[in-house]
Structures are given as C-alpha cells and as structure tokens.
C-alpha cells in the first residue's frame, strides 16, 4: 500500500474536496435522488390538478411551469446524474482501475450540478415566473414570449452541458486507458460498453444543445434572428437543432439502463448473457441510428414528404437492434436457474414495460399515424414507459443490486419486493390509461380537459400518488440498510453475479485496484 490515501477525510471537506470515484458516485446518486423527489413533487402538482376536469388548484401559467420543470429536473437532474453516479462507482471497479482517469475534473463535473439546479429552481421565485415553455423549450415560446427567467434557464443548461461533457470525457478516458491488463474491449462488462457509447453520444450532442441555447440567448438579448422568420431565420430551425440533441439524448438515458439490465439478468438467471457480441453491436447500432432520426419528433411541423419518409424508415430501423437486445435478455433467462430477488423483479419489470414503450414508439414512428398521436397523452404514455419503467426501474434495480457491495449491508428484501409491486402497479395505473385518453385526443401540457377523459385521468392521478409514495419506501429501505442493515460477509453477494467488482470485499474499500488485478480466470462478460 502507498504511504497516503488510507481512507476518506472527515467531515464536509471529504465530500467537497474529494477525488475518489466512490465518493463522487455516492454524491451523484444522492443528488439525483433528491432531484427525483423534487421532480416527483412537480409531477404530483400536475396530477393533482388533473385529478378532475376544470381548473382546480393552480393557475394555468403555474401548471405550465410545473410541466416544464418536471421534465427538465427529471431528465437532467434525476436520470442522467443517477447513471453518471453509477458509472463513477462501477466502471473503475468493473475494469480493474484504481479510479477515474481524471479525478479532480470528476469532482468538478459533479459540483457544478447542484448550483445549476439551484439556479433553475430559483426561477420559480422570479418575476414573471419560471420557464413555462415545456422541457423542449421550442422557440418562439422560449425566445419572444419567454419570461425573463429564461436567461437563468439558459445558463443552467450551459452548466449542465459542461458537467455532462466533462463527465463523459472522463468516462471515455477511463474506459479506453485504464482497463486492467487482459481486459480487452470484448471482455468488458456490458454496463461499461453501454456507458462508453453513451459517453460518446454525450460528447457529440451536448455541445449542440449548448449551441441551441446560445442562439436563444442571442435572439433574446442581442437581436439576432435565428428563430425568427421576420429576420430570415426559422422557428423550426430550433426544433431541428434541439432534436438533433434530443434524440441521442433519449438513448443517453436508456443505454446505461440496458447495461444495468445486462448485468442483472444473467446474475439471477445464473447463466452468462446470451449474445454478448450482438449486444455490443446492437448498442453501437442504436447509437448510430440515433443521429439520423431526430425529425420524427416533428412530423407535424410541415416538413417535405421526402423528409417525413426518410425519418420514418430510419426510425423503424431502430426496432431491429432494440429487438436484438430484448431477444437476448429473454434468451438469457430461458432455462436459467432463476430467482426473483428485488433487482431481478425490477429488471423483469423493465423488460416487459420497456418493450411496451418500444412498441408504442414504433406506432409513433409511423408518420401518418403520428399526425393523430402528436402532442397527445399517447406520447406522454410512450415516453414515460421508456423513461420511468425503462430508465428509473433499471436504476432502482441497480441500487438494490449493488447496494450490498457499496455499503456492506443488505436491504430488507420483503420491503424491496413490496416496493417493486407497489411501483409496478402504481406505474401502470398511472400511465396505461394515458394511452387511451391520448388516442382519444387528449392533448398534453393542458391543465384542463374534456369531460369524457375524467375517469381515466382520475385513475392516472391515483396511480401517480401511489407510485410517488412507493419511492419513499425505497428511500426508507436504502437508509435503513445503510444504518442498520444486515451485514454481508461474502464478497459475492449474489451467487450468480460475475465480474471484477464481486471479487472485492463488501463494502468495497475506499481505494480498490491500486495495482491492476490479474484477469486470466475472469469470464468473458
């Protein structure tokens, strides 16, 4: 052992000044959970207002602020940082590295996040209110008609982008440069693979988002006309730039989730992952396609027919690599010695519900049909099936799966199972009816609705409250495990789990793999 780095520093400075990937991962995870609760609180306001038709609780303007901030906080504050936290904790342990490649920058990319969200949340208190133009902030709603707080929103987005780019560069450098000898690319755990590709997507598209908000800033304050037809620009240009970022962004959210599921399902099926190589190629294929499908978000904007057709067919192609993945997960379980602990339950929940979300995505990809579905609750249902039952379920599975490794203590299995079933039921009660109201024509982002949608909306709201409540159970279970959970003695907490992180003691020591591990006996995933 070296003559320094024996353990963490004490007190607050440990967290403020840390360069340790585990500390930083922990901070990311707690921060993202706090944002998950904040964004969830916004969602509760939305569902409370929509509990019954008519204007009930909040002003329409405030309702718009809630939908906007809910989306922004969940996408940029909850889901993305949670997977970065997971990457921080796991990638060095999975590839046998002592830490992330650039530890101080790692700390920086975390610490600029909380102030950015503080600034974003503070817009709620500003004159003119918080941004109310939806999380996609289409011009001219976000330029000509925006409240003054939009300036702070823009800078918050800039900072989030800087954070994501630095975090991703770090992950790329770590994976490309820090693998233990013998850890070839095709031996890396799939979680590492999916994050490598995700990091590439982030470095490629976050700057484009920065460009979009910079153009907004210039249009608002310096009289440029990027998004104003009066000067020769085009509001639709905003949508193109935004979705050039936005579509890869949805894979940025879901690819690490794919990685998590690809670790957990083999562990509880006690079989190696089926089709490892095809999983890698499918991930790369999805990443490539994500760059050429962006305009399927804007079929109704008045694109030329040739454009509609191109984006329609390109979008449908995504079903192929995604299908490969679903097939591989199912085949991994086939004839496995399966057990159904909480991480596995969430993973199977992911598999079923994400596939439903994928199918509704396929429906939405059909341009003529999308003219009917566009901006209805059908879209809302679709993307919550992939974002909540996809990304959030897999994240939850990941926490249950690796918590014993992180803390050395076991969560309460019964409570975990209750959490799963309440989440699963609450989620479906919330979002399944939204398919129906959407197909029947209920528009999204409107605080009131026609009477025929009343029953389904009430169901949705009840489901949302149940789902929201169940997350408090999750929080309690995690804290209880950390404080007083049963200690795990074994390195290998789950008997089917494979990979370098399971060769480490539980809890994993503050510094691991200061010299690279020997890798000969490691299996190929």
């Amino acid at each position: 052992m070296g003559d320094h780095h024996h353990g963490p520093a004490k007190g607050l400075s440990r967290w403020l000044y840390t360069t340790n990937h585990k500390d930083i991962g922990t901070m990311y995870l707690w921060f993202s959970f706090a944002m998950f609760l904040l964004g969830g609180a916004f969602a509760m306001v939305i569902r409370a207002e929509l509990f019954q038709p008519g204007m009930q609780l909040v002003e329409p303007g405030f309702f718009n602020q809630m939908t906007t901030l809910h989306g922004l906080v969940m996408v940029f504050g909850a889901i993305m940082p949670s997977f970065v936290g997971l990457a921080n904790w796991l990638i060095p342990m999975m590839i046998g590295a002592p830490d992330m490649a650039l530890p101080r920058m790692n700390n920086w990319s975390f610490w600029i996040l909380p102030p950015a969200f503080l600034m974003l949340a503070s817009t709620l208190l500003m004159e003119g209110g918080a941004p109310a133009f939806g999380w996609t902030f289409y011009a001219p709603l976000s330029t000509t008609y925006a409240p003054p707080s939009v300036t702070f929103f823009i800078f918050a987005i800039h900072i989030l982008g800087v954070s994501s780019i630095m975090g991703s560069i770090n992950i790329i450098a770590t994976v490309m440069n820090m693998r233990a000898p013998g850890m070839t690319y095709m031996k890396m755990p799939l979680f590492v693979w999916t994050w490598l590709i995700t990091a590439f997507l982030l470095v490629a598209v976050m700057p484009v988002l920065a460009g979009a908000v910079t153009m907004m800033l210039m249009d608002i304050h310096f009289g440029t006309s990027f998004f104003s037809a009066a000067g020769g620009g085009d509001p639709v240009l905003f949508q193109h730039i935004f979705w050039f970022f936005g579509h890869p962004e949805v894979y940025i959210i879901i690819l690490p989730a794919f990685g998590v599921i690809s670790q957990i399902i083999p562990a509880f099926s006690r079989k190696p992952l089926f089709g490892y190589a095809s999983m890698v190629y499918a991930t790369a294929g999805i990443a490539f396609l994500s760059f050429i499908v962006w305009a399927h978000h804007m079929y109704t904007v008045g694109m030329p027919v040739a454009g509609e057709l191109f984006f329609m067919y390109a979008t449908m192609l995504i079903a192929v690599p995604t299908g490969v993945k679903v097939f591989n997960w199912v085949t991994t379980m086939w004839r496995g010695a399966m057990t159904f602990e909480t991480p596995m339950l969430f993973s199977i929940g992911f598999l079923v519900l994400f596939t439903i979300g994928g199918f509704t995505g396929l429906m939405l990809s059909i341009a003529p049909a999308d003219f009917q579905y566009h901006d209805t609750y059908f879209v809302v249902a679709h993307f919550h099936y992939v974002m909540v039952a996809g990304a959030v379920f897999s994240m939850t599975a990941a926490v249950y799966f690796w918590l014993p490794k992180w803390t050395g203590r076991m969560y309460n299995e019964t409570m975990g199972k209750v959490h799963f079933w309440v989440s699963f039921i609450g989620f479906n009660v919330t979002f399944f009816p939204q398919h129906f109201v959407g197909l029947a024509g209920m528009p999204r982002r409107i605080p009131d609705y026609a009477l025929q949608f009343a029953d389904f909306n009430m169901m949705s709201s009840i489901g949302a409250f149940i789902y929201g409540m169940s997350q408090l159970l999750f929080l309690y279970n995690v804290i209880a495990a950390i404080v007083s959970g049963e200690k795990v003695s074994d390195e290998k907490v789950w008997d089917g789990a494979e990979g370098l992180e399971w060769t480490l003691p539980s809890p994993a020591p503050y510094h691991t793999f200061e010299t690279p591990p020997k890798l000969e006996e490691q299996p190929a995933y």
Binding site: R104, N177, M218, I220, A230, D234, I241, G302, P509
Partner: protein, 326 residues
Amino acid sequence: MSSAETSTEYEKYYVPESSSLAVRATIGLVLSVFGGGLVLNEMTFGGTHDTGGAAKWVLFAGLAIFIATLTYWFRTTIKENKAGMNSSQLSNSYVLGMFWFIFSEVMFFAAFFGALLYVRWLAGPWLAGEGEGGRMNFLLWEGFEYTWPPVITPQEVVGGALSQPIANNGAFVSQHTSMSFADAQAWYAWLPLWNTIILLTSSVTCEFAHRGLSQGNIKKFEAWLAVTVGLAIIFLFLQAAEYYEAYELFGLTLNSGIYGSTFFMLTGFHGFHVAMGMTMLLIQLIRSVRNKHMTSTDHFGFSASSWYWHFVDVVWVFLFIFVYII
C-alpha cells in the same frame, strides 16, 4: 485486500489527494453565469432583480475567481508532472481528454454550421415561396425574395417591425453590403483572404515549432512558436478591423437578419477560439522561455495547444468556404 496481493510491477496511476480546486472553480463559474444573467436581464428587460448596478461586479468577481482557479489548477498539474508524479498512463489520459474535448468543440461549431446551411438551403427559399414550405410567403411575407447574402429581411418587405403580422424579437434591418467576395479587381483588399492565408500559414509555423521541439531544438521551437503567436495576433486585429468595417460602413450588425446572425456568431465564436488558442500557445512560449519547461519528450501542454490550433484552422477553412465564398 486483493489489490495488495497482486504484483506491483505496474506503474502506479496518480490519483491526486483531495483538492479544493473543483469547488473554487465552481464558485467562480456560478458567480459568473449568475452575474451575467443579471446583467443581461437588466439590459433587455430592465431587470428581473433590482441590483443597483451590483450585477456586473458579481460577474467580474466570478470571472476573476474562475480564471485564477483555472490558472492555479494548470500550475498544479504542471508541478505534479515536473515532480515526476505522472505515469505514461496518466499522460495518455490527458491526450484522450484533449482529443474528446476538441471533438465536443467540433460539434458545437456543427450546430452553427447546421443553422447556416439549413437557412440557406431550406428556410430561405421557403420564405420566398419555393417548395412545400412555400405557403409562408403567400400568407406572411408576401413579396419576399430570397438571395444569399440577403439584401432585405422579410420584415422589411412587409413594412418593418410595426406592420408585421406576428411578433418578433425586434427590428431586423438588412445590411447594404455583405462580407462575401464581390470585387475581383480589388481582391487584395479583401480581408478574409488575408486572414485565410495568415491562419493557414500559422498552422504550418506551428508544425515547424513542433518539429523543432521533437528534435530537441528549443531555439527553433521558440522562434516558430513566436511567429505563430504573432500571426494569431495579426489575425485577431484584422478580424477586429473587419467587424468595424461591417458595423460602421456596411450596416451589417447582429440585427441584420439571419445573415448578420450567422455571420457574427460563426466568425465571432471562431475568433473567440482563436483568442483562446493564441493564449494557450503564448503560455507555452512563456513556459518554455522562462521556465525551460519544454523538452523533446515531455511537452503535452504544447502538443495539446497545437492540436487546438490546427482545429481552429480547420474551422476557419469551412468558415471561409461557407460564410465568405459560396
């Protein structure tokens, strides 16, 4: 612990002790953007918050903290390197970091080039009534004809900001002379051509400096690097002159519709990057002359700066083609 038992034949990767650099840089960055936001809102909306002129001091304080911290951060890494803490593996991490940072910069410029090409190929013709998007002309901007560079904005065609049927961000008054190549007789007076020559030459001189350094010829390295920095400064002066010309003589401003928007944003961000690259190269020159930091085998600071410089040059080539020529 498994790591203690494995062999120690590998170089240890340098994981720095805990450090306050990140938190300090964060304070600087957040103060900068918060102050900047206050300043901008006071300028445009008459202020979301009444700061009584304090906003700009928040901005300046933030920038000062930010720049000071980054300077100190770079000094720290240089000292660590000189103290022999960096393994070859860490150096490789820096190389990867710089490469992917430049890639992210490429994508940032791609957004603005994308905007330019979209407007020129699609939105502009549609506004003038062509193709499937052409109804806009008949419904909103009747009489607008598309040319590039545009000689008139759609708003001017329909009678200015006041008589315009939909709201906008202000008055867009087109320039009377564009920056593109117009007079073949006076080609030598066309600044962008000179800027192209200067920048391409500077890439070559930068490469000469690199070769000098690789050969261990520090004199050669410093001389060519000084020439490179000099060329960069001349470029920036010429661009300042060009901007002056645009604003004062041609009526080309940020408000000149989409031509002014794309022209100033593309050349402006490029100019900013030239200034950044120039500063980076200048710092390497100072480090070499004053501190004798550069050796033929250990000069990542210069290598990274030179890659950045070549990147800036390549961007200019595209700018020259798409903004000035075509």
